[in-house]
Amino acid sequence: MWEWLKRLLGLSKTLSINWLDEDALPRPPSSPGIMFCRQPPAPLDKSCLSFFGGLPITPADFQWPTSPYPAVADGSSGVSFLGQIDMATLPDSELRGLLPSQGILYFFFDWQIPYFKRVDGGHTVQYHNGDAASFQETSAPDDLHILHYKRYSSEQNAWFRFHKEGSLAPKAFLKTRITSAVIDTYEISHPGYEGYHRPENLGLRLRDKSVFDAFGPYSEPPPPPPDDGGLAFPCPRFPQAWLYVDHVADEILHRLGTVIGQFEDDKRAARNWIEKARAQGVFSAIPASERGLFRS
Protein backbone atom coordinates (compact mmCIF):
# COMPACT_ATOMS: atom_id res chain seq x y z
CA MET A 1 0.00 0.00 0.00
CA TRP A 2 2.74 2.40 1.03
CA GLU A 3 4.88 1.56 -1.99
CA TRP A 4 1.85 2.05 -4.22
CA LEU A 5 1.18 5.45 -2.65
CA LYS A 6 4.80 6.53 -3.07
CA ARG A 7 4.72 5.49 -6.73
CA LEU A 8 1.51 7.43 -7.24
CA LEU A 9 2.96 10.57 -5.64
CA GLY A 10 6.14 10.24 -7.64
CA LEU A 11 4.06 9.90 -10.78
CA SER A 12 1.96 12.92 -9.88
CA LYS A 13 5.11 15.04 -9.72
CA THR A 14 5.71 14.39 -13.41
CA LEU A 15 2.13 14.36 -14.55
CA SER A 16 1.16 17.61 -12.92
CA ILE A 17 3.91 19.49 -14.74
CA ASN A 18 2.71 18.09 -18.04
CA TRP A 19 -0.90 18.93 -17.30
CA LEU A 20 -0.06 22.54 -16.57
CA ASP A 21 2.08 23.08 -19.68
CA GLU A 22 4.23 25.55 -17.79
CA ASP A 23 5.78 27.04 -20.91
CA ALA A 24 2.37 28.35 -21.90
CA LEU A 25 1.89 30.20 -18.61
CA PRO A 26 2.89 33.88 -18.41
CA ARG A 27 6.18 34.33 -16.61
CA PRO A 28 5.90 36.21 -13.30
CA PRO A 29 8.23 39.17 -12.65
CA SER A 30 11.64 37.99 -11.52
CA SER A 31 14.68 39.30 -9.70
CA PRO A 32 18.07 37.71 -9.07
CA GLY A 33 18.97 36.63 -5.58
CA ILE A 34 21.81 34.82 -3.86
CA MET A 35 21.07 31.41 -2.39
CA PHE A 36 23.26 29.79 0.24
CA CYS A 37 23.77 26.07 0.61
CA ARG A 38 25.32 24.66 3.75
CA GLN A 39 28.00 22.04 3.43
CA PRO A 40 28.28 19.06 5.76
CA PRO A 41 30.00 20.07 8.96
CA ALA A 42 33.74 19.83 9.04
CA PRO A 43 36.36 21.54 11.16
CA LEU A 44 36.99 24.97 9.65
CA ASP A 45 40.17 27.01 9.86
CA LYS A 46 40.12 30.68 10.78
CA SER A 47 40.67 31.76 7.18
CA CYS A 48 37.10 30.72 6.30
CA LEU A 49 34.97 33.75 7.11
CA SER A 50 31.63 32.67 5.60
CA PHE A 51 29.75 30.09 7.62
CA PHE A 52 26.58 29.42 9.57
CA GLY A 53 26.51 28.49 13.26
CA GLY A 54 29.37 28.17 15.68
CA LEU A 55 30.94 31.36 17.03
CA PRO A 56 31.59 34.54 15.05
CA ILE A 57 35.10 35.45 13.91
CA THR A 58 35.32 39.15 14.67
CA PRO A 59 37.57 42.14 15.26
CA ALA A 60 38.82 42.75 18.79
CA ASP A 61 36.31 45.53 19.50
CA PHE A 62 33.29 43.35 18.67
CA GLN A 63 30.43 43.51 21.19
CA TRP A 64 28.05 40.56 21.30
CA PRO A 65 24.53 41.99 20.95
CA THR A 66 22.01 41.49 23.72
CA SER A 67 18.26 41.34 23.70
CA PRO A 68 16.44 44.54 24.67
CA TYR A 69 13.46 42.45 25.72
CA PRO A 70 12.95 41.01 29.19
CA ALA A 71 13.99 37.40 29.58
CA VAL A 72 11.02 35.08 29.59
CA ALA A 73 12.66 31.85 30.63
CA ASP A 74 16.06 31.46 32.19
CA GLY A 75 17.18 35.06 32.60
CA SER A 76 19.54 34.92 29.63
CA SER A 77 19.86 37.94 27.38
CA GLY A 78 22.47 36.95 24.80
CA VAL A 79 21.14 36.51 21.27
CA SER A 80 22.03 33.49 19.14
CA PHE A 81 24.58 33.77 16.36
CA LEU A 82 23.05 32.59 13.08
CA GLY A 83 26.01 33.05 10.78
CA GLN A 84 28.42 35.41 9.07
CA ILE A 85 28.97 36.20 5.40
CA ASP A 86 32.18 37.54 3.92
CA MET A 87 30.94 39.97 1.29
CA ALA A 88 34.09 39.57 -0.79
CA THR A 89 33.27 35.92 -1.44
CA LEU A 90 29.79 36.44 -2.90
CA PRO A 91 29.35 35.42 -6.53
CA ASP A 92 29.74 38.09 -9.20
CA SER A 93 26.47 39.44 -10.49
CA GLU A 94 24.54 42.68 -10.92
CA LEU A 95 23.63 42.37 -7.25
CA ARG A 96 27.16 43.20 -6.18
CA GLY A 97 26.46 46.86 -6.84
CA LEU A 98 23.85 46.84 -4.08
CA LEU A 99 26.02 45.25 -1.43
CA PRO A 100 29.26 46.24 0.26
CA SER A 101 32.16 44.82 -1.72
CA GLN A 102 34.15 43.99 1.42
CA GLY A 103 33.59 43.35 5.08
CA ILE A 104 31.57 40.77 6.96
CA LEU A 105 27.91 40.71 7.87
CA TYR A 106 26.96 39.03 11.17
CA PHE A 107 23.39 37.88 11.86
CA PHE A 108 21.89 37.22 15.30
CA PHE A 109 18.53 35.83 16.37
CA ASP A 110 16.71 36.76 19.59
CA TRP A 111 14.84 33.87 21.17
CA GLN A 112 13.07 36.20 23.61
CA ILE A 113 10.80 37.28 20.76
CA PRO A 114 10.60 34.28 18.45
CA TYR A 115 6.96 34.54 17.49
CA PHE A 116 6.33 38.19 16.64
CA LYS A 117 5.58 38.85 12.99
CA ARG A 118 7.59 42.05 12.83
CA VAL A 119 10.30 43.09 15.24
CA ASP A 120 12.41 46.20 15.70
CA GLY A 121 15.49 45.37 17.75
CA GLY A 122 16.44 42.03 19.22
CA HIS A 123 17.32 40.26 16.00
CA THR A 124 20.50 42.02 14.99
CA VAL A 125 22.81 42.57 12.03
CA GLN A 126 26.34 43.86 12.47
CA TYR A 127 28.85 44.83 9.83
CA HIS A 128 32.60 44.91 10.36
CA ASN A 129 35.20 45.82 7.78
CA GLY A 130 38.85 45.61 8.69
CA ASP A 131 41.94 43.48 8.46
CA ALA A 132 40.38 40.02 8.56
CA ALA A 133 43.75 38.46 9.32
CA SER A 134 43.52 39.95 12.80
CA PHE A 135 39.98 38.69 13.43
CA GLN A 136 39.56 36.08 16.16
CA GLU A 137 36.84 33.65 17.16
CA THR A 138 34.74 35.35 19.81
CA SER A 139 33.82 33.65 23.06
CA ALA A 140 30.14 33.12 23.70
CA PRO A 141 28.66 35.22 26.50
CA ASP A 142 27.75 33.34 29.65
CA ASP A 143 24.09 34.30 29.36
CA LEU A 144 23.59 32.99 25.84
CA HIS A 145 20.09 31.64 25.38
CA ILE A 146 19.54 27.92 24.88
CA LEU A 147 18.36 27.22 21.33
CA HIS A 148 14.68 26.57 20.76
CA TYR A 149 14.99 23.27 19.01
CA LYS A 150 12.72 20.33 19.47
CA ARG A 151 15.53 18.04 20.55
CA TYR A 152 16.44 20.48 23.31
CA SER A 153 12.92 20.90 24.58
CA SER A 154 12.83 17.62 26.47
CA GLU A 155 13.99 17.60 30.03
CA GLN A 156 15.24 14.10 29.31
CA ASN A 157 17.91 15.56 27.13
CA ALA A 158 21.45 15.27 28.33
CA TRP A 159 22.39 18.72 27.10
CA PHE A 160 20.33 20.49 29.70
CA ARG A 161 21.49 18.48 32.64
CA PHE A 162 25.14 18.18 31.69
CA HIS A 163 25.77 21.53 30.17
CA LYS A 164 29.37 22.32 30.97
CA GLU A 165 31.27 25.54 31.30
CA GLY A 166 32.90 26.22 27.95
CA SER A 167 30.63 23.88 26.04
CA LEU A 168 28.70 25.39 23.14
CA ALA A 169 25.88 22.87 22.93
CA PRO A 170 23.03 23.53 23.08
CA LYS A 171 23.61 27.29 22.85
CA ALA A 172 25.12 27.57 19.38
CA PHE A 173 23.96 26.36 16.00
CA LEU A 174 25.92 23.64 14.28
CA LYS A 175 28.84 25.27 12.47
CA THR A 176 29.02 24.54 8.77
CA ARG A 177 30.67 26.13 5.78
CA ILE A 178 28.45 27.58 3.07
CA THR A 179 28.55 28.02 -0.68
CA SER A 180 26.52 30.57 -2.60
CA ALA A 181 25.11 30.94 -6.10
CA VAL A 182 23.03 33.48 -7.99
CA ILE A 183 19.53 32.25 -8.70
CA ASP A 184 16.37 33.66 -10.25
CA THR A 185 13.54 34.43 -7.86
CA TYR A 186 9.95 35.18 -8.91
CA GLU A 187 6.84 36.81 -7.62
CA ILE A 188 4.28 34.31 -6.45
CA SER A 189 0.59 35.10 -6.51
CA HIS A 190 -0.19 32.17 -4.24
CA PRO A 191 2.72 32.20 -1.79
CA GLY A 192 2.64 28.78 -0.27
CA TYR A 193 3.57 25.19 -0.76
CA GLU A 194 -0.09 24.22 -0.58
CA GLY A 195 -0.95 23.15 -4.08
CA TYR A 196 2.65 23.32 -5.21
CA HIS A 197 1.75 22.50 -8.80
CA ARG A 198 -1.10 24.98 -9.22
CA PRO A 199 -0.53 27.79 -11.74
CA GLU A 200 -0.33 30.49 -9.06
CA ASN A 201 2.76 28.78 -7.66
CA LEU A 202 4.66 28.90 -10.95
CA GLY A 203 7.14 31.41 -9.47
CA LEU A 204 7.97 29.01 -6.67
CA ARG A 205 8.61 26.17 -9.10
CA LEU A 206 10.74 28.37 -11.35
CA ARG A 207 12.80 29.45 -8.35
CA ASP A 208 13.24 25.83 -7.33
CA LYS A 209 14.38 24.96 -10.85
CA SER A 210 16.93 27.76 -10.65
CA VAL A 211 18.20 26.34 -7.34
CA PHE A 212 18.45 22.86 -8.86
CA ASP A 213 20.45 24.31 -11.75
CA ALA A 214 22.75 26.15 -9.34
CA PHE A 215 23.44 23.42 -6.79
CA GLY A 216 22.42 20.29 -8.65
CA PRO A 217 19.48 18.14 -7.62
CA TYR A 218 20.04 16.22 -4.47
CA SER A 219 21.12 12.66 -5.07
CA GLU A 220 21.75 10.07 -2.46
CA PRO A 221 25.43 9.28 -2.15
CA PRO A 222 26.47 5.72 -2.97
CA PRO A 223 26.33 3.46 0.04
CA PRO A 224 29.53 3.90 1.96
CA PRO A 225 31.70 0.85 2.55
CA PRO A 226 30.91 -0.79 5.86
CA ASP A 227 33.21 0.15 8.68
CA ASP A 228 33.14 -0.44 12.35
CA GLY A 229 32.15 3.06 13.37
CA GLY A 230 28.99 3.69 11.43
CA LEU A 231 25.38 2.80 11.83
CA ALA A 232 25.62 -0.87 10.96
CA PHE A 233 24.87 -2.08 14.45
CA PRO A 234 26.14 -3.82 16.36
CA CYS A 235 29.42 -2.03 15.60
CA PRO A 236 32.40 -2.77 17.80
CA ARG A 237 33.60 0.85 18.05
CA PHE A 238 30.33 2.08 19.54
CA PRO A 239 30.19 4.08 21.76
CA GLN A 240 33.02 6.36 20.68
CA ALA A 241 32.27 9.12 23.20
CA TRP A 242 30.79 9.39 26.67
CA LEU A 243 28.01 11.41 25.08
CA TYR A 244 26.67 8.25 23.44
CA VAL A 245 26.80 6.42 26.78
CA ASP A 246 24.86 9.20 28.40
CA HIS A 247 22.27 9.29 25.64
CA VAL A 248 21.67 5.53 25.56
CA ALA A 249 21.53 5.22 29.36
CA ASP A 250 19.17 8.17 29.50
CA GLU A 251 16.90 6.58 26.92
CA ILE A 252 16.90 3.28 28.80
CA LEU A 253 15.97 5.08 32.02
CA HIS A 254 13.23 6.89 30.21
CA ARG A 255 11.77 3.65 28.87
CA LEU A 256 12.00 1.83 32.18
CA GLY A 257 10.71 4.80 34.12
CA THR A 258 7.07 3.85 33.77
CA VAL A 259 7.62 0.37 35.21
CA ILE A 260 7.61 0.82 38.97
CA GLY A 261 9.27 -1.76 41.15
CA GLN A 262 10.85 -3.65 38.31
CA PHE A 263 14.18 -3.59 36.54
CA GLU A 264 15.72 -1.81 39.51
CA ASP A 265 19.15 -3.25 38.75
CA ASP A 266 18.95 -2.01 35.17
CA LYS A 267 17.86 1.42 36.32
CA ARG A 268 20.68 1.61 38.85
CA ALA A 269 23.19 0.56 36.21
CA ALA A 270 21.90 3.17 33.77
CA ARG A 271 22.15 5.90 36.44
CA ASN A 272 25.70 4.79 37.25
CA TRP A 273 26.67 5.07 33.59
CA ILE A 274 25.17 8.56 33.37
CA GLU A 275 27.08 9.65 36.45
CA LYS A 276 30.28 8.15 35.06
CA ALA A 277 29.78 9.92 31.70
CA ARG A 278 29.10 13.15 33.54
CA ALA A 279 32.25 12.78 35.64
CA GLN A 280 34.42 12.01 32.62
CA GLY A 281 32.91 14.76 30.47
CA VAL A 282 30.28 13.86 27.90
CA PHE A 283 32.37 15.34 25.09
CA SER A 284 35.44 13.19 25.69
CA ALA A 285 36.34 9.89 24.07
CA ILE A 286 35.65 6.71 25.96
CA PRO A 287 38.52 4.28 26.73
CA ALA A 288 38.30 0.86 25.07
CA SER A 289 37.99 -0.93 28.42
CA GLU A 290 35.00 1.16 29.46
CA ARG A 291 33.48 0.75 26.01
CA GLY A 292 33.63 -3.04 26.36
CA LEU A 293 32.11 -2.84 29.82
CA PHE A 294 29.27 -0.65 28.59
CA ARG A 295 28.54 -2.91 25.65
CA SER A 296 28.40 -5.93 27.91
Binding site: G10, S12, K13, S31, G33, I34, M35, R38, P41, P43, L44, F52, G53, L95, L98, L99, F109, Y115, F116, K117, R118, G122, V125, L147, Y149, R151, F173, L174, T176, I183, T185, I188, P191, G192, Y196, H197, R207, V211, F215, P217, Y218, E220, P221, P224, P225, D227, G229, G230, L231, F233, F238, P239, A241, L243, Y244, H247, V248, E251, F283, A285
Partner: protein, 133 residues
Protein backbone atom coordinates in the same frame (compact mmCIF):
# COMPACT_ATOMS: atom_id res chain seq x y z
CA UNK B 1 6.71 -21.83 21.84
CA UNK B 2 10.39 -21.95 20.82
CA UNK B 3 9.55 -20.01 17.70
CA UNK B 4 7.82 -17.30 19.77
CA UNK B 5 10.84 -17.07 22.05
CA UNK B 6 13.15 -16.68 19.04
CA UNK B 7 10.94 -13.92 17.65
CA UNK B 8 10.88 -12.13 21.02
CA UNK B 9 14.68 -12.21 21.24
CA UNK B 10 14.92 -11.00 17.66
CA UNK B 11 12.59 -8.09 18.39
CA UNK B 12 14.61 -7.18 21.48
CA UNK B 13 17.85 -7.09 19.50
CA UNK B 14 16.23 -5.01 16.80
CA UNK B 15 14.97 -2.62 19.43
CA UNK B 16 18.44 -2.29 20.94
CA UNK B 17 19.98 -1.65 17.53
CA UNK B 18 17.33 0.97 16.88
CA UNK B 19 18.13 2.61 20.19
CA UNK B 20 21.82 2.69 19.33
CA UNK B 21 21.04 4.14 15.90
CA UNK B 22 18.98 6.91 17.45
CA UNK B 23 21.72 7.65 19.96
CA UNK B 24 24.38 7.81 17.24
CA UNK B 25 22.35 10.09 14.99
CA UNK B 26 21.33 12.37 17.84
CA UNK B 27 24.93 12.80 18.95
CA UNK B 28 26.44 13.27 15.49
CA UNK B 29 25.61 16.93 14.93
CA UNK B 30 26.86 18.30 18.26
CA UNK B 31 30.02 16.20 18.11
CA UNK B 32 30.70 17.32 14.53
CA UNK B 33 30.32 20.96 15.50
CA UNK B 34 33.38 20.91 17.70
CA UNK B 35 36.74 20.32 16.00
CA UNK B 36 37.94 18.61 19.17
CA UNK B 37 35.28 15.90 18.93
CA UNK B 38 34.51 15.75 15.20
CA UNK B 39 37.10 12.98 14.82
CA UNK B 40 34.79 10.72 16.81
CA UNK B 41 32.32 10.63 13.92
CA UNK B 42 32.97 7.97 11.31
CA UNK B 43 33.04 8.76 7.60
CA UNK B 44 30.10 6.41 7.14
CA UNK B 45 28.00 8.37 9.61
CA UNK B 46 29.01 11.63 7.94
CA UNK B 47 27.82 10.27 4.61
CA UNK B 48 24.53 9.09 6.04
CA UNK B 49 23.79 12.51 7.52
CA UNK B 50 24.74 14.41 4.35
CA UNK B 51 21.14 14.90 3.33
CA UNK B 52 20.54 16.98 6.47
CA UNK B 53 22.97 19.61 5.21
CA UNK B 54 21.79 20.01 1.62
CA UNK B 55 19.73 22.97 0.36
CA UNK B 56 17.40 20.61 -1.48
CA UNK B 57 15.40 18.27 0.70
CA UNK B 58 13.91 15.46 -1.38
CA UNK B 59 10.20 14.90 -0.97
CA UNK B 60 7.65 12.56 -2.49
CA UNK B 61 5.44 15.13 -4.20
CA UNK B 62 8.11 17.81 -4.67
CA UNK B 63 11.54 18.68 -3.36
CA UNK B 64 11.68 21.29 -0.64
CA UNK B 65 14.24 24.08 -0.72
CA UNK B 66 15.92 25.32 2.43
CA UNK B 67 16.00 28.93 1.33
CA UNK B 68 18.83 30.83 2.99
CA UNK B 69 18.62 33.76 0.60
CA UNK B 70 20.07 37.23 0.10
CA UNK B 71 18.23 39.79 -2.07
CA UNK B 72 15.66 38.71 -4.63
CA UNK B 73 12.02 37.86 -3.95
CA UNK B 74 10.67 35.58 -1.26
CA UNK B 75 7.11 34.30 -0.91
CA UNK B 76 5.21 36.94 1.07
CA UNK B 77 2.86 34.88 3.17
CA UNK B 78 2.40 37.65 5.74
CA UNK B 79 0.88 41.06 5.12
CA UNK B 80 3.76 42.76 6.91
CA UNK B 81 6.21 41.14 4.48
CA UNK B 82 4.09 42.28 1.55
CA UNK B 83 4.34 45.87 2.79
CA UNK B 84 8.06 45.75 3.52
CA UNK B 85 8.94 44.17 0.19
CA UNK B 86 7.69 47.37 -1.52
CA UNK B 87 10.03 49.66 0.40
CA UNK B 88 12.91 47.44 1.51
CA UNK B 89 15.42 44.99 0.09
CA UNK B 90 15.71 41.50 1.47
CA UNK B 91 19.11 41.64 3.12
CA UNK B 92 18.94 38.02 4.25
CA UNK B 93 16.46 35.25 4.88
CA UNK B 94 17.23 32.32 7.15
CA UNK B 95 15.03 29.30 6.66
CA UNK B 96 14.29 26.64 9.26
CA UNK B 97 17.10 24.17 8.83
CA UNK B 98 17.14 20.92 10.80
CA UNK B 99 20.76 20.37 9.81
CA UNK B 100 21.89 23.41 11.80
CA UNK B 101 19.16 22.90 14.42
CA UNK B 102 17.41 26.18 13.60
CA UNK B 103 13.67 25.73 13.61
CA UNK B 104 10.89 28.30 13.70
CA UNK B 105 7.44 26.86 14.29
CA UNK B 106 7.71 23.85 12.01
CA UNK B 107 9.44 25.33 9.01
CA UNK B 108 9.12 29.10 9.42
CA UNK B 109 11.51 31.65 7.98
CA UNK B 110 13.16 34.81 9.31
CA UNK B 111 13.77 37.84 7.06
CA UNK B 112 16.11 40.78 7.63
CA UNK B 113 14.92 43.82 5.58
CA UNK B 114 16.79 47.04 4.85
CA UNK B 115 16.10 50.07 2.69
CA UNK B 116 18.37 50.77 -0.26
CA UNK B 117 19.50 54.02 1.37
CA UNK B 118 20.37 52.34 4.67
CA UNK B 119 22.25 49.61 2.84
CA UNK B 120 24.31 52.18 0.96
CA UNK B 121 25.01 54.02 4.22
CA UNK B 122 25.81 50.72 6.01
CA UNK B 123 23.11 51.49 8.59
CA UNK B 124 22.51 47.88 9.57
CA UNK B 125 21.18 49.04 12.93
CA UNK B 126 18.02 50.08 11.05
CA UNK B 127 17.26 46.58 9.82
CA UNK B 128 13.68 45.37 10.27
CA UNK B 129 12.99 41.69 10.90
CA UNK B 130 9.90 39.67 10.01
CA UNK B 131 9.04 36.10 10.81
CA UNK B 132 6.96 33.96 8.49
CA UNK B 133 5.68 31.20 10.73
Amino acid sequence: MERNKELAIDREEQSLDKLLEQAALACTGPLMADPATSGLISSRLRTLTRRLHHAIQPGYAFDDIIAHQMLGIVPNREEVMEDLSRTHLLLMQFDSDPGMEFELANGGTCQFWITREDLTALRFDRVVVTLDL
